[in-house]
C-alpha cells in the first residue's frame, strides 16, 4: 500500500503548513541528491518498463508541456497535457537551460496527481515521484509512490514528436494483404487519418481488442500510422484461442486425453504454441518489407511503447489518392516448450486474409 502523507486536521493553518513544507520536503527527499540536468534531456517519450506496475505508465515531455498515461487497477487513461513547473531553473549565458526537476500537476474530477520528474542515475532514465489525493474525500491524504522511466528507443529518427515511430520499412512479415478501401481508409478523398483510425478502432473493438490490446505508431514524415495488435494465441487454422488465453504469450493447455492413444500422444508430444501480431498500416507510401525478421519480445515491448490514440495533429492529415490500409501479419511458433523462444514464421501457411478472419477483423474470407 502506498504511504500516506498529510493530516485530517480541520485547521486551515495545518493544511497550509503541510502544503508549503511537507509536500516539497518529500520532493527534496527524493531529488535532493540529484543534480540539475539540461532541459533538453527531459524531452521525449518515457515509459515504465514494468508491465505490471501501477501508476504513471508513460510520460511525453515536449518543452515544458507534459502528457501522461496513468494505469490503475487495469484501467489505462490518458492524462491531459499540462504545463510543468520547472524547479531550480538555471539559464547560464550562452548555455543550455537546466532544471533540477519538473513538476506536473494533473487535476482530474476525481483525483489530483502531482508528478515530480528528475534525472535518474543512468542516462536515458528519469526518476518520478507521484503524489495522489482524491478530490472527493474529506481527508484528502496524499499517497506517495516512486518509479523509474526509461526513454523509449522507438522515439528515434523518423518519429514526428507525436507518436513513437514504427520501424520503416516494416520488419519482414509472415503474410500481407490489402484491406478493402471502404473498411478503413474510406472512399471519400476528404477523409482524414482520424477517420481511418476511428474505423480501425471500431473494427478492432468488434473483434474483441480492448484499448490495452493495440497500440498506434507514426510513420515517418507523417505519411500515416500503424496500429499493432497485442500478441494473440492462435490455432493451426488461424482462429484465436478464446480468452483467457487469447492475449497470452503462453500457449493454452492441451485438452484432456480421452483414450489411451490420446494420452500416449500427449505424453510425448506437446502441441506447438502459435502466436501472431497484426500490424495495420494506413499510409500512401508503398509498403515494403525490411530484411530483418522481427523478434516476438521486441514486438511485445514495442506494443507497450506505442500510443493509444492518434494525436490531433495527425488526425487532421489527409493522405493522397494512394492511401490504403495494408495488414502485415507476424506469426510465431514455439515448437516445443515454454523454455524456448517463439520463432518467427517467415512464410505463414495461412494467408493474411485467413489470419484477419481468424481474428474476426474480417468477418468472412474475401
Amino acid at each position: 500500500m502506498a504511504p500516506s502523507i498529510g493530516d485530517t486536521s480541520p485547521f486551515p493553518l495545518f493544511r497550509f503548513i503541510r502544503a508549503v513544507f511537507l509536500v516539497p520536503a518529500f520532493g527534496l527527499v527524493l531529488f535532493g541528491s540529484s543534480t540539475a540536468g539540461p532541459l533538453d534531456d527531459y524531452q521525449g517519450y518515457w515509459s515504465n518498463q514494468d508491465p505490471d506496475a501501477q501508476g504513471i505508465a508513460r510520460l511525453y515531455i515536449r518543452g515544458d508541456r507534459v502528457q501522461g498515461v496513468d494505469k490503475r487497477c487495469g484501467l489505462v487513461r490518458d492524462l491531459p497535457e499540462v504545463t510543468a513547473i520547472i524547479c531550480q531553473r538555471e539559464c547560464p549565458e550562452g548555455g543550455q537551460t537546466s532544471a533540477a526537476a519538473l513538476e506536473a500537476v494533473f487535476s482530474g474530477t476525481d483525483e489530483e496527481i502531482k508528478v515530480i520528474i528528475s534525472h535518474s542515475s543512468g542516462p536515458g532514465r528519469l526518476k518520478i515521484g507521484v503524489m495522489r489525493r482524491p478530490t472527493s474525500e474529506a481527508t484528502k491524504n496524499w499517497t506517495w509512490a516512486e518509479a523509474e522511466l526509461v526513454k523509449l528507443e522507438a522515439m528515434g529518427e523518423g518519429a514526428d514528436g507525436l507518436l513513437p515511430a514504427f520501424p520503416w520499412p516494416p520488419p519482414k512479415a509472415s503474410a500481407r494483404a490489402f484491406l478493402r478501401k471502404d473498411l478503413v481508409v474510406g472512399n471519400n478523398a476528404a477523409d482524414d487519418l482520424g477517420k481511418a483510425f476511428d474505423r480501425i478502432v471500431t473494427v478492432l473493438q468488434k473483434a474483441g481488442f480492448s484499448s490495452s490490446e493495440y497500440s498506434v505508431y507514426s510513420i515517418p514524415t507523417q505519411r500515416g500510422f500503424v496500429v499493432v495488435t497485442k500478441i494473440e494465441n492462435i490455432d493451426e487454422t488461424g482462429h484465436f484461442i478464446p480468452k483467457p488465453h487469447r492475449f497470452s504469450a503462453d500457449e493454452p493447455p492441451a485438452s484432456r486425453p480421452r483414450t489411451l492413444l490420446e494420452y500416449l500422444k500427449a505424453l510425448f508430444n506437446a502441441p506447438p504454441g502459435r502466436f501472431r501480431f497484426i500490424a495495420l498500416a494506413v499510409t500512401d507510401l508503398v509498403v515494403t518489407e525490411g530484411p530483418v525478421a522481427p523478434d516476438a519480445h521486441q514486438l511485445e515491448k514495442a506494443l507497450r511503447e506505442g500510443g493509444k490514440f492518434l494525436p490531433s495533429e495527425l488526425r487532421q492529415i489527409r493522405l493522397g489518392s494512394d492511401r490504403h490500409c495494408e495488414a502485415l501479419v507476424y506469426e510465431f511458433v514455439r515448437p516445443s516448450s515454454a523454455a524456448e523462444e517463439p520463432r518467427f514464421v517467415p512464410s505463414s501457411n495461412l494467408s493474411a486474409e485467413q489470419h484477419l478472419a481468424g481474428a474476426t477483423i474480417l468477418r468472412t474470407h474475401p
Binding site: 488465453h245 503462453d250 500457449e251 493454452p252 493447455p253 492441451a254 485438452s255 484432456r256 486425453p257 494420452y263 500427449a266 505424453l267 510425448f268 508430444n269 506437446a270 502441441p271 506447438p272 504454441g273 514455439r334 515448437p335 516445443s336 516448450s337 515454454a338 523454455a339 524456448e340
Partner: protein, 153 residues
C-alpha cells in the same frame, strides 16, 4: 526381532531402484527425443538427476562393495528393510507420476515447467525419508563371521 539375509535384501532394493530409475530415465529420454517435447529437455534432466542419482549411486555402490566381500551369514533387520523398500517404491512412483500425470492436468507449457519445480516440494522430503530408512537398514546389519576382502577382483 526378525532378520533377513543382507545380500538378498540389498539386491531386492537395488532391483527396485534400478527398475524405477530405468523407467524414469526411459520415459524422460523418449520425451527429450520427441520433436515436440512436453518439457524443456534441459529443465527435465536438471529435475530428474538430483531425484534419482544420489540414492541410486548409494545403493549400487553398497551392492558392489558387498559383492567384493566374502561373508558367512550377514543379516539385517527385516522391518528396516521393509520400510526402506516401501518408501523407495513410493518415492519412485512419485517421481514417475510427475511426467506421467502432466498430460491429464491440462497444463500450459509454462505450468508444466512449474510442475517440475513444484514437485520438489513433496519429492524432497520423501527423498530425505528414504535416505533415513536406508541408513537405518544398513546400520541394522549383523555379521556372523568377519568379512574377508576378495583379492584380485
Amino acid at each position: 526381532m526378525k532378520r533377513i539375509d543382507l545380500t538378498q535384501a540389498q539386491r531386492r532394493l537395488a532391483l527396485a531402484w534400478l527398475l524405477g530409475s530405468g523407467l524414469a530415465f526411459g520415459l524422460v529420454i523418449l520425451q527429450s527425443l520427441s520433436r515436440q517435447p512436453p518439457f524443456p529437455p534441459d529443465k527435465q534432466w536438471q529435475w530428474l538427476l538430483p531425484c534419482l542419482l544420489p540414492t541410486l549411486s548409494l545403493i549400487l555402490s553398497t551392492v558392489v562393495a558387498e559383492a567384493r566381500m566374502v561373508r558367512a551369514a550377514a543379516s539385517a533387520d527385516l522391518f528396516s528393510f521393509q520400510v526402506s523398500l516401501g518408501l523407495s517404491m513410493f518415492y519412485l512412483a512419485l517421481v514417475l507420476s510427475t511426467p506421467l500425470l502432466a498430460p491429464l492436468l491440462q497444463l500450459t507449457a509454462a505450468e508444466r515447467v512449474e510442475l517440475l519445480t513444484k514437485s520438489q516440494l513433496w519429492l524432497g522430503p520423501v527423498q530425505g525419508l528414504v535416505g533415513l530408512a536406508l541408513g537405518a537398514f544398513f546400520v541394522s546389519r549383523e555379521n556372523d563371521a568377519p568379512a574377508v576382502r576378495v583379492e584380485g577382483t
